[in-house]
Amino acid sequence: MRLSEALDVIRAGVPDSGTVRRIHLICGFTPLHLETFVRARAQLRFPAAKIEIDTGLFGDLEGNVARAAHKSADAALVAIEWADLDARLDLRSAAGWKSETLDDIATQIGERLTRLHSLLRALAAAMPVAVLSPSLPLPPVTHFPPSQSGAFELQLRAAMAGFLERLAADRHLRVVSESELALRSPAAARLDAALLLHAGFPYSIAHADAVADLALACAFPAAPKKGLITDLDDTVWKGILGDAGVSGVSWSLDRRSHGHALYQQMLGSLAQSGVLVGVASKNDPTLVESAFARPDMILKPDQVFPFEAGWGAKSDAVSRILARWNIAADSVVFVDDSPMELAEVAERHPGIECLRFPADKPAAILELLWTLRSLFGKGEIREEDRVRASSLRTAAAIEPAAAGEASEEFLRKVDAKITLDYEMDSGRAFELVNKTNQFNLNGRRFTEAEWRAYFEQPGAFLVTAGYEDRFGPLGKIAVIAGICEGLRCAIDVWVMSCRAFSRRIEFQMLARLFENTRAKALLLRFSPTPRNGPTQECLRRLLGFDPPEGEIELTAEQFRRNCPPLFHTVHQPSRKERQTA
């Protein structure tokens, strides 16, 4: 983005929607164009919000971090440069580059990084923080020629690497990727020495834009896609299975088809991180089964669910997979080598992200793999990610069993256990609230800062439900949050993963809420959305009429009358355990 484009975005502004996104931009230099780009990029990211940027004092990085921790914001972006860690490394100072001071500079930087670490941790306790490590070159302070790294430089880099590693271990502290920054902003074109000396701003325009964009992406990560549907022939492997046979398809260096091995490797890795991987292939199902039984397959059959192999339209296969996963097309990526198949699927499933597998083009395959990482990447892998595919597979397996007898009888026999958790700092709860569409009381989404602020209100509570039955665990799959004042209990958040439907978990959660709060009625803050039909159905059942938008009162008497029989064993912490939590 050019500076004029950024200013155009800012000048265009937004209609006053009442939403504000406040961002701390923390650096030791004059923020100048970095502030402009952060404001413009943030505006593009949050088109309906008014963007407010707080900046600090020149030359006081540590103080700026400390002060920001006491001012609420949706996120903080922290740009560290070598000059902030020791003034002798600042091109605007002329304190001397004496060889005898180098050890002292290294010592000072080590101490300063230790202090900065604790300040950043305090800041991260209040809001998500994206940290940019020094992106500008060290000044030529040592006697070494530029072609050679001396001990001083390596010592500084080691101290910085250790510091960043410690930051990355904290889930609220996110380190901006230096390698991604290097792709977008070449090292030699980052410094604007004239601007630095004249105005105290060290970044070139292009570098300021790249830093702003990446830091915002780190602080406000996009919701990752949930599922990937892949073709097989000339995609997962090279060759047409029906023509070449099971031993004729390949994915190896020897057969000049290694790009397919890399793709399989990526699919396996995505499956491990909780991404649903399904197959839609025009093929003979028994042949597909045999191919996946080959011991050298990198993508294992248990990492794929479901397999849709047959001769019908690809879009029909995709429909069946989406129904099996119970997720919408816009959460899914479809990969195929055929432009025609991609077009057919895109037309039938608007919103699905269609990507062409560029067979025989290694560089383009690698680019595709990076695109997949970008679409599915997440900062943390939870237990729920590990069990997602297996729980769907189990659900499919038990469906015939459930259909064969009265559903109530079936639910009675599955040994369902629900564990209620009152942990306020639940990353999983935050994740569920921001990605669940179908069972969602009102579709409300939260930024991390809004989520934390919500629970700072008096009487705020959070209940997370985990579920397990004799077919296996589903992990934490439902969340209720609200505010209790005396016997008045208002619910602002009520979501449940679609994997947990038809188990009456939602009813059990309300039953426990009535029991624990002794409330005579719950106030449900309901809004219909285009996708929350299952929530509307649940409310209709409990209320006996179509739920109106707004605050709905559900009395304990209404609930008792209309709640279906529940068969779960519920574990919840004792009052003492809850108080400790």
Binding site: R2, S4, R11, T30, H33, A194, L195, A199
Partner: protein
């Protein structure tokens, strides 16, 4: 680049840097009469001019150019 084109593009730089400025007042704008025209705005304006006209702007050369007419004249010299 014609004189008119230089002027139009320069006016656009001013409009972006000083969004509160009435477009009709741009040709008579000066730092002494425009409160928003401080040293930071001067740097932003000059960077924008450098980007718009594809020239390297030496901040020192333009240090005393604190009105639209002065900047326009300095810019014409640079583009010639």
């Amino acid at each position: 680049m014609s004189e008119q084109e230089i002027r139009t593009r320069l006016e656009r730089c001013f409009a972006l840097t000083f969004p509160q400025l009435d477009p009709a007042s741009v040709p008579s704008a000066s730092a002494s009469r425009l409160a928003a025209w401080d040293s930071v705005a001067q740097v932003s304006l000059l960077t924008l001019i450098g980007e718009e006209f594809g020239v390297e702007v030496d901040f020192e050369d333009f240090e005393d150019a604190t009105s639209f007419t002065a900047i326009e004249s300095r810019l014409r010299e640079k583009l010639d």
